[in-house]
């Protein structure tokens, strides 16, 4: 593992540690920059950085650029890159970690609705334990009306008539369990990046 001392002070080094501590995380050092990930990625055409570049930004300590890149939020999590990577790097997991950090630090790229969408969905999830499409879409639409205009409004009506729309979202009965689990997570301040936890 390379020496990081020269930027250990960097406040972002925790993201780095976190990536390394994922299963197979250290594989990023074995990246030979072949670009298979970019070719395999269905959305690379829209990315400002190819996945390959993200990996190299991460391991060369230019975390800031990786986190601000739109690429990470364009990742649709199809895992095609990870499945084909000759170096066995779980690129999708790296992308997730970067997404998490970029929202935590509030430095994520603004083009994508991804962060808003994710936050809204998670809020509902942690309130009810389940998601209902309708309230989710409305929840996101609050932030960005244009969301609704991608689809012809008639479609919602059609769906409704076809009996495919459920207005009342369901709720998990024993939400306590979920809350307790997350409470423990916060209390124990468990974090992936910590080395000698287990």
């Amino acid at each position: 593992m390379p020496e990081l001392s020269w930027w250990d002070s960097n406040k972002l080094s925790f993201v780095y540690e976190r990536i390394l501590s994922l299963p197979e995380g250290k594989r990023i050092f074995e990246c030979m920059q072949c670009g298979t990930c970019g070719g395999a990625c269905p959305v690379s055409f829209a990315m400002d950085r190819t996945p390959r570049q993200i990996i190299n930004l991460v391991r060369s300590g230019r975390m800031d650029e990786a986190l601000r890149s739109e690429t990470i939020w364009l990742c649709a999590s199809c895992y095609n890159c990870a499945a084909q990577c000759p170096a066995g790097i779980r690129i999708t997991d790296v992308m997730y970690t970067l997404k998490v950090a970029s929202t935590e630090l509030g430095i994520h790229h603004k083009n994508s609705l991804g962060p808003i969408f994710a936050k809204t969905m998670v809020k509902q999830l942690e309130a009810n334990g389940r998601i209902s499409e309708v309230s989710l879409i409305l929840g996101v639409a609050k932030h960005k009306l244009s969301l609704l205009t991608t689809l012809n409004p008639l479609i919602y009506v059609k769906l409704f008539l076809a009996g495919r729309v459920k207005l009342r979202g369901e709720k998990v009965k024993n939400m306590e369990q979920l809350r307790k689990m997350n409470a423990w997570l916060i209390a124990s301040d468990f974090s992936l990046e910590e080395k000698d936890r287990v």
Binding site: A76, C78, Y79, N80, S112, G114, A118, T150, M181, N182
Partner: protein, 290 residues
């Protein structure tokens, strides 16, 4: 009649009720019963992972713990749920650190998980548990001459591949009398959440899938994942508007396709509830004596 402990997931309750309904109907025909796991919670799909990996693993750990109480197997029909659950199960065994996380959090909630649950996709169950001959024998309404695009989506094969050959769906289509096109995009991404988050990008992916399907003359697309179905179907109009294309391909679930071939009524399978009605195509099957 085997009982499958079943995890429906949120979308099988809303836009994709037809998937759930047809899965049950298919079970009645080929011999399984879906036993919905009690008080399950959302798998977090891809969104939760982008907010907190740890919490996503915990949410799914709860599902796995609930499942383990009843059976060592958990069957899933939704691609996203399959991915989240099987990934959690895999990482629980792969990473001591994550196992530690899940164990302790579960203990806090008075639950336990032994890492014994096998997460299975419904397609895999249907393909592996029932001899092809047996299934073929049940086909009473062969879908003769109907060209279909077998579309798996990403998550059956990735990140944790279901143990099926890469042409399992094709085999099922042929056994139903239909004709499967050589769909090279069968495991390419449908755009997932991008159709909302970055419509311009998401629609491009949907377009690519539809255009290969159309090029190769498929009249139907067969999916195994609710999100794929929604993206391919609901957004066809949007795609046509954006790219001036003229796609009009009905998109149905493999459960509906099989169920229909095996004689179930359109109603039992909720066929016709699509925005682009699939019944005309299905009924158009060349009737032949065999």
């Amino acid at each position: 009649m085997k009982t499958l402990q079943f995890f429906p997931g949120c979308s099988l309750q809303g836009f994709n009720t037809a998937y759930y309904r047809s899965a049950i109907t298919l079970g009645n025909i080929i011999g399984y019963k879906l036993d919905e796991i009690d008080d399950w919670n959302c798998c977090g799909a891809t969104a939760y992972f982008s907010i907190s990996e740890e919490r996503t693993f915990l949410a799914n750990a709860r599902n796995l713990a609930l499942a383990e109480k009843k059976s060592k197997e958990l069957t899933v029909a939704c691609g996203a749920c399959f991915a989240s659950l099987s990934k959690t199960a895999k990482y629980y065994t792969d990473s001591r650190k994550l196992a530690y996380l899940m164990d302790n959090a579960l203990k806090e909630a008075g639950m336990v998980y032994d890492g014994k649950v096998k997460v299975r996709h419904l397609l895999e169950v249907v393909f592996n548990e029932y001899p092809r001959g047996e299934l073929a024998a049940k086909v009473v309404r062969p879908l003769k001459g109907i060209k279909m695009a077998p579309y798996y989506g990403c998550m059956i094969f990735r990140p944790v591949p279901a143990p099926i050959p890469r042409d399992a769906l094709e085999q099922l289509i042929q056994l139903a009398g239909g004709e499967a096109i050589d769909f090279t995009a069968k495991d390419r991404c449908c755009g997932g959440m991008l159709v909302n988050n970055r419509p311009d990008v998401g629609l491009a992916l949907v377009k690519d899938l539809l255009s290969e399907a159309q090029q190769k003359g498929s009249q139907l697309m067969i999916t195994t994942c609710p999100l794929c179905q929604v993206n391919l179907e609901l957004y066809q109009g949007a795609v046509n508007r954006k790219y001036g294309t003229d796609f009009k391909i009905p998109v149905i679930y493999f459960t509906q396709m099989l169920g229909y071939a095996m004689g179930a009524s359109a109603k039992e399978l909720m066929l016709g509830s699509e925005l682009i009605n699939s019944l005309p195509v299905l009924q158009g099957a060349r009737v032949s004596k065999n």
